[in-house]
């Protein structure tokens, strides 16, 4: 992948990531997150991870981000004042972030990764090869993820579904909101 393509795309990706963090309106930050996901998908293609790129767009950008947008609109959140109120917190945050990024980049720049010249098999990154691996070496992991998803769904249902344990619903069964108030 030629530098001409990499750098502008990288720039867009980073800009949209910053957009997620800086924009005041949650919807705009959600959309900028979607933008950065797309850039990543493009990178995946360049890295010959075709199926992963497709999954990224369908699963991630499609399903997960939609869920986010759905929740944001459901709670009709108005924009808050962004980074304005806590300058100290933001300053320290950015400082620490810079250190982390700097440290990682410094470490990575000194690794011997560059020296690995590996010619990839043409079928690298295709669905067939990935599938054979998923159901071969990673069969156990694959089955376990199914259980993970089941737990997530059950959990989501338990928490999100309205089932009468709030004051609004049934008065008698409701628990006084601040019953076990720990008065400190």
């Amino acid at each position: 992948m030629s530098p001409l393509a990499f750098y502008p795309l990288a720039f867009v990706c980073i800009a949209s990531a910053m957009g997620v963090v800086l924009s005041r309106n949650p919807v705009r930050s959600a959309l900028s997150l979607v933008a950065s996901l797309f850039c990543l998908a493009v990178f995946y293609v360049f890295l010959q991870a075709h199926l992963v790129a497709a999954l990224q767009i369908i699963v991630y950008a499609g399903a997960v981000m939609v869920l986010f947008l759905f929740v944001i609109t459901l709670l009709n959140l108005e924009s808050d004042r962004g980074l304005g109120e806590k300058p100290v917190l933001s300053a320290i945050g950015f400082g620490a972030g810079a250190i982390v990024a700097g440290g990682l980049i410094a470490a990575l720049s000194r690794t011997s990764l560059g020296a690995r010249a590996v010619t990839l098999v043409p079928t690298f990154g295709t669905t067939k090869v990935l599938a054979r691996q998923l159901f071969g070496d990673y069969l156990v992991a694959f089955e376990l993820t199914s259980m993970l998803l089941l737990v997530a769904v059950v959990g989501a249902v338990v928490l999100a579904k309205r089932d009468g344990s709030y004051e609004g619903d049934e008065q008698e069964a409701a628990v006084p909101a601040r019953s076990e108030e720990a008065s400190h």
Binding site: L144, V158, D163, S165, A177
Partner: protein
């Protein structure tokens, strides 16, 4: 092939039992879900029994899971602690306004998560196990939806958990990029090869650092401990009991396997970090616990302190130190389940039982409960001849043997500080006199669990050899070479 199947049976049975639980829950009518609870407990018992039965044949799944002695030990530990937590919850939930049957299935899934973490020999499988457990416990923490503190606990636990998982994952990613594999044994072999020494040394250091931080969060080591007090205090007491014992054990299972197997070659650089973490965690946990007025929050900080003591064992890193951590986890589990059990037994809607002052004069109103609580407090302090003392003794001996003399002295002095607040509780129960509105009588199920916990604590102190032996056997085959 059949041999692989039937030795994997415990895990398969466990998962199917959990699914069965959800189905049964749908059809159970009464609001207290006693049936589901007992199903859960029996399920755990079956899993434990089968894993012991099949323990003789260590099954290795490709290189994802290894149901070896180590995994079986944790399996047993997690199942017993999970069952205890479920029994505690039977009559606690109804009163606490939790009308969700899924409580037990989620707890069951959490136990399965712990088992996977203990058995995993591949970082990714371990990660998935970690996430399964975490998902279940995030929901359990927030299960009392009407109570703000429970919601807040769930949110904090979720956010920080997600952050920690991201950190852990990034560490694994770097490790994968450099060493080419995520299987613990391969990673360890790759790390020990000389060619990685030079240039990649720094990246490897950072990667191991990030992985350590990921697990550090799970066992609530300082400075990644801030979530623990709030979540322990916010979550329902029985969930806190489960978290403080089984979840922490899972965290340590994964941490130990990773640090002592995969990252073994890096241990030279890691030792000072671990040493520092152990010392600071112990001291902070004990010192802040001194200042607490809520018993739940105090027990949270006390569990942080005990993480510090356990880290001493991990820092030592020898075979003996590993088994001492295993034994300590068992003793610590029994003590804590008991302590939280007493709180659960006496809590009623509208009359919380979380502040230490609620326990004043307990010796006069509930002599049995007070005696059990005193026993747990003494054992947590490390007063002989209880389980806590033998646990500490074993860890200190191992650490001393590995040359960490000063760390042991710091731990010894920490025990003195811990005596101040643990015996502060005993003082409140025995010295002060009971308030006007006396605490209600203890609940039957909870009382049974507390009694069993008390007996186990005493047995671990007086006749610990069987457990000591199994801990040593369990850890004997974990270290490579």
């Amino acid at each position: 092939m059949t041999q692989a199947i039937n030795s994997g049976l415990p895990l398969i049975v466990a998962c199917s039992w959990a699914l069965l639980l959800i189905v049964v829950e749908m059809f159970s009518g009464d609001r207290r879900f006693v049936g589901v609870a007992w199903m859960g407990v029996i399920g755990l018992a079956v899993t434990a029994a089968m894993s012991v039965h099949y323990a003789s044949v260590p099954a290795v799944y490709g290189n994802a899971l290894a149901l070896d002695g180590y995994a079986v030990y944790f399996n047993l530990l997690a199942c017993t602690l999970g069952a205890a937590a479920m029994l505690l919850s039977i009559d606690y939930l109804g009163d606490a306004g939790i009308v969700r049957g899924e409580y037990y299935s989620l707890m069951f899934f959490a136990v399965i998560g712990v088992v996977i973490m203990a058995a995993a020999t591949d970082l990714i499988v371990m990660f998935i196990g970690l996430e399964t457990m975490s998902m279940a416990v995030y929901v359990l923490a927030g299960i009392r939806k009407s109570d703000l503190r429970s919601n807040e606990a769930a949110l904090k636990y979720f956010l920080l958990g997600a952050l920690a998982s991201a950190l852990l994952l990034y560490g694994v990613a770097l490790l994968y990029t450099i060493t080419g594999s995520t299987v613990l044994a391969d990673v360890s072999k790759a790390l020990s090869d000389t060619q990685h020494a030079g240039a990649d040394h720094l990246v490897l250091l950072l990667a191991t650092g990030l992985v350590l931080i990921g697990f550090g969060f799970k066992i609530a080591a300082v400075p990644f401990h801030l979530w623990a007090p709030d979540v322990y205090e916010g979550a329902p007491t029985t969930v806190t009991a489960f978290m403080a014992t089984a979840v922490k054990a899972g965290g340590f299972a994964a941490l130990m396997r990773t640090v002592l197997v995969a990252l073994a070659p890096m241990r030279a650089e890691l030792a000072p970090v671990l040493w520092g973490a152990a010392a600071v965690t112990m001291t902070l946990g004990n010192v802040v616990a001194l200042r607490q007025t809520s018993l739940k929050r105090m027990l949270a900080y006390s569990s942080i302190a005990h993480t510090g003591y356990l880290l001493v064992g991990v820092t030592a890193g020898t075979n003996e130190a590993g088994s001492s951590v295993l034994f300590y986890l068992a003793a610590y589990g029994a003590m804590n389940i008991g302590a939280f059990g007493v709180m659960a037994a006496l809590a009623r809607r509208g009359r919380g039982c979380e502040k230490i002052s609620d326990f004043s004069g307990l010796a006069q109103t509930h002599p049995a409960m007070a005696c059990a609580m005193a026993l747990f407090m003494l054992s947590l302090t490390g007063i002989p001849p209880l389980g806590g003392f033998v646990g500490k003794l074993y860890v200190f001996t191992a650490a001393m043997h590995a040359g960490l003399v000063w760390l042991v002295v710091i731990a010894a002095l920490n025990s003195v500080v811990s005596a101040a607040y643990y015996l502060g509780v005993v003082r409140t129960m025995y010295f002060d006199n009971a308030p006007a509105d006396v605490l209600p009588p203890a609940r039957p199920y909870a009382a049974v669990v507390v009694a069993v916990a008390a007996v186990v604590t005493i047995l671990l102190g007086v006749a610990p050899s069987p457990v000591l032996g199994s801990a040593a056997r369990a850890f004997s085959k974990v270290l490579l070479g």
